[in-house]
Symmetry: C2
Subunit: 339 residues, 2 copies
DNA sequence: GTGAAAGCGCTAACAT
DNA sequence: ATGTTAGCGCTTTCAC
């Protein structure tokens, strides 16, 4: 009646528990014939291994480390808090967090090289794109540490997986929204970026321009404003631009420093431009509620953490990995579907 | 070094394992003083119970049953498939699915009354709103079966929880989108419903009208079309209406039968109305890709299943429940952020 | 090659 | 009111 166990399998196959275990875990030291017999009994019984019991007996320990940029980036701070809040939630898993100066690839590479493989089994890192970081990741891997990139990827490095959204698609989504929101009004579209040197920002811009050029050719895209994810710089530059350019109908903020966008918007005349920004934070939420922003494109930090942890566990345990969990959805929020 | 266990707690507190267990599970038969001492040691050691081991020892079995409407509703069929696919994924849990004729509260009530409490510990049901169903749920509860409603709620019944989206907010979200999409074009807005007798449809309509009346008063909302979640009826009635009404600028389909909307749209002239529908299915996905639909409002079936299973497990086990997991997000999809 | 036996961290009788 | 003991389903020495 209840689920069959290895005891049942062993009894029916006429072998011992150890042999069933060997077959189950594809260990060697089992005659071909026995192997087949045991496998058949398992199939016939519909045996499914009890993972909890297995982990219990194994006494596995996954020691994971998250490496995030420091600084005032609300999204990153939210991510950090979420990790801290959930750190105790995973069985057999301890989680540490480390922050490094943002936009500083030397610092990141140094920090990665300092990781002690005797203390850490797996690392999830928000990558900065540089040769030094690539080399540091490779070194980590050589030491036997599992590595996934988080939020911002580093393709063609030796990271084993990327956990995050498809940023080109995110940019396209922003354009689909903003294009529709601006229908009937023709004019200039402003893009506010952090820095074009950061991979995810570059990808978002690419996707955004793809769709806007092709499907809303009546709109005029201005060259991107660089705000370095700093709200003061963003506010200053955007205010200036809005003062000079009368026909701005839409704004897409594809990095952080979103508070600066809200501040600049506060000074605009009636019939304000439509605004789409990235990442749901207390501030973007507020701006959505008071009508300053029209939509927020978001990635769920908790999902990303969960995916990273699960992936690292599988990687460390040498199990098959489910690539699906790593594909994080691009979420769209308006005032009314806020969580 | 490794996580402290009840052995450590017992040793340090100078009591036996049983006593620690009693404290841990708030069982009676422990002197106040011992209780305090043990608790203190736990805190001091940062003890966290190993849930897997606990479940293993308990040999708990959760036998759950999902009750869904039968019929051609793509969303429900998707839900059913997802349950089947994940049925083996939960430890200590077996999951069965049962379908009943749709929109037939007598059939649903009968099916619920037939559930054998000796075979079933918990039920998740897509509710139809009626006194008979309410009574059936109450009878189930009296038999000791845990009950949650799924997707469509039955408030003021004895169901212990609802797992699903906030449908008023979903309607508001649709209006926010459609209102923005139609800016600059003024005319009629069509609502296609399944039946106003179904609770979630009524709620969506409410939310939709709230926002549209208040924030887009220039648009004219037509009385809702009833399509009974049947694509043929929807196609026929919507085609007819579109032929008669030249100034339709937006369409909101708040129930199933969405394929009928796509079919009716295929016959419209250029400058087609903007369309927002519910539930991501192979068909609505296709319509999004080919530009027939502008946005799809969705609820994630897998999340709902996971939440229902988790909630029922807690309810059956008499544990504290985390109401947060039951709040399913209202997802918005455009062509470019499709999963 | 295969098996017996001792645990993993916790719970559930059954003592005392 | 508290302790002892035998498992839960699986893994892991260590024998044979």
């Amino acid at each position: 009646m209840s689920r069959p166990t290895i005891h049942d399998v062993a009894r029916i196959a006429g072998v011992s528990l150890s042999t069933v275990d060997r077959v189950l875990n594809a260990r060697e030291g089992v005659r071909r014939a026995t192997q087949v017999r045991v496998t058949e009994v398992m199939q016939q019984l519909g045996y499914e291994r009890n993972v909890a019991a297995a982990n219990l007996a194994r006494r596995r320990q996954y020691r994971l480390l998250f490496v995030l940029p420091a600084g005032g980036n609300s999204f990153m701070r939210g991510l950090e808090q979420e990790i801290a809040a959930r750190a105790g939630a995973w069985e057999f898993t301890s989680i540490a967090v480390m922050t490094v100066p943002p936009f500083d690839d030397a610092a990141l590479a140094g920090a990665l090289l300092d990781i002690d493989p005797a203390q850490t089994d797996g690392v999830a890192v928000v990558a900065t794109d540089s040769a030094a970081v690539r080399a540091a990741l490779a070194a980590l891997r050589d030491k036997g540490v599992a590595v996934v990139t988080l939020v911002s990827d580093l393709p063609s490095s030796r990271r084993q997986h990327f956990v995050g959204i498809d940023n080109v698609q995110a940019g396209r989504t922003a354009a689909s929204l903003l294009g529709r929101f601006c229908r009937g009004r023709t004019g200039s579209i402003v893009m506010v970026a952090g820095s074009m040197l950061v991979r995810d920002h570059a990808e978002r811009r690419l996707g955004f321009e793809q769709v806007l050029y092709q499907e809303y050719p009546e709109q005029h895209i201005l060259p991107p404003l660089e705000g370095f994810d700093d709200q003061d710089i963003v506010a200053a530059r955007l205010s200036e631009l809005l003062a000079q350019t009368a026909d701005v109908v839409g704004i897409y903020s594809l990095g952080a420093g979103t508070r600066g966008v809200a501040r600049a918007m506060a000074q605009t005349r009636t019939d304000a431009p439509s605004v789409v920004v990235h990442e749901l934070t207390p501030h973007s939420r507020q701006a959505l509620l008071d009508g300053t922003f029209d939509a927020v494109i978001h990635q769920d930090p908790l999902r990303e953490i969960t995916a990273a942890v699960g992936l690292l566990q599988s990687l460390i345990g040498g199990e098959a990995i489910d690539a699906d969990v790593a594909r994080i959805g691009i979420e769209v929020y308006l005032r009314d579907n806020l969580p």
